[in-house]
Symmetry: C2
Subunit: 169 residues, 2 copies
C-alpha cells in the first residue's frame, strides 16, 4: 500500500468513499445528503492537506490533515480518516480496513510532526465507533472531553461524542 498526497485525479475515488461513509450516518457529523461538490470542497479545503491510500492502483482510503484552529490555536492539528466501506463487510475486509486505517493514522501523525504541529485533536469521535476509539487509544490519544448526546445516530438515536487529544513530542 502507498499513501500519497491526493490529486484532482483522485476526486472520483474520494467522493465514492466519502459518500458511502457519510450516507451511513454513524461516524461523521456531515449531512448524509452532502453533494459531491460540497464534499470535495470540504475535503480539499485551502488549509487542508489531503492524502489517499492506494492498494494495487485502487484508492482504498483517504485522510485530511489541517490546523484545528486559527492563529493562537494553529499549533494543534486536526485530522479525519475514511476507509472504503465496501471492504468492511467481511471479517477479512474489516481486518484490511483496520490495517489501512492504522497505516493512514501513523502516516498522518508523522506528517503532522513533520509540519511542526505540537498536538493532534479529534473534535468529534462518536462514542459508538469503537474500532476508531480503540485505534486512537492505541496510538496514544486520550479522551479529554465528552459531549452528551451530541450525535444523532441513524440507528441508535442521540449518543455521546468524545474529544480526543494527544501531544506530538
Amino acid at each position: 500500500m502507498e499513501i500519497r498526497a491526493a490529486t484532482r485525479a483522485d476526486r472520483d475515488a474520494i467522493w465514492k468513499i466519502f459518500h458511502e461513509i457519510v450516507a451511513a450516518g454513524d461516524t461523521y457529523a456531515l449531512d448524509p445528503k452532502m453533494s459531491r461538490e460540497d464534499a470535495l470542497a470540504y475535503w480539499f479545503r485551502v488549509d487542508t492537506q489531503t492524502y489517499v491510500a492506494e492498494k494495487g492502483g485502487t484508492v482504498v482510503g483517504t485522510y485530511i490533515l489541517r490546523p484545528n484552529q486559527l492563529g493562537p490555536g494553529s499549533h494543534v492539528a486536526n485530522a479525519a480518516f475514511m476507509v472504503a466501506s465496501n471492504v468492511q463487510s467481511s471479517g477479512v475486509g474489516r481486518a484490511m480496513a483496520e490495517h489501512w486505517g492504522r497505516a493512514m493514522a501513523e502516516h498522518c501523525l508523522a506528517e503532522a510532526r513533520r509540519m511542526g504541529f505540537r498536538a493532534m485533536q479529534f473534535n468529534f469521535v462518536i462514542s459508538t465507533n469503537t474500532p476508531a476509539i480503540h485505534l486512537w487509544k492505541q496510538l496514544g490519544f486520550k479522551i479529554v472531553g465528552t459531549l452528551p448526546g451530541a450525535f444523532r445516530h441513524l440507528e441508535r438515536g442521540y449518543v455521546d461524542v468524545y474529544v480526543m487529544f494527544r501531544s506530538l513530542p
Copy 2:
C-alpha cells in the same frame, strides 16, 4: 440596551470590536492579523445568525449563533460573543461589559431554544479567560473537556482550553 439581528450597516461597528478583541490575542483562536473581509465573512457566515447589542445608538457588542456541526450534529448550537473592549479598561467599564455580555448570552440561549437547538457548546474557552468561564458557569454551562496547551496566549504562552456544554431543555 437593545439586542437585534445585525445588518450590513453594522459591519463597520462589528469590525472595530472584532479587530480589537482578536488583535489582543488572549481570547480567540483567530489570526490577530485577520483582514476585515475575512473577519466579516466569518462573522456573517451563511449558516450563522449574527446579532448586535446597541446602547444609545452605539453598537457595544455582537454575537453569533450557529450549528456547531452539520447533519447528525446540527442539534447542538455554537455561539461566540464580543463586547467592545474600549469600555473594559475601567471598573465601571468592566461592570458594563459584564452586564452586556450576560444580556447577550441570555438572549442567545433564548434564540437557540426558539430555533430548536437541544444544547449549546463552546469549543474553545481559554482557561485564562476567567470572566467568561464564570459567566458560562452561572448560565448553566459545565466544563466537559480540557485541551492541554491548545492556546498560545500572547503573554502567558501555551495555556489550556476548555470545552463547555449545556443542554437546552
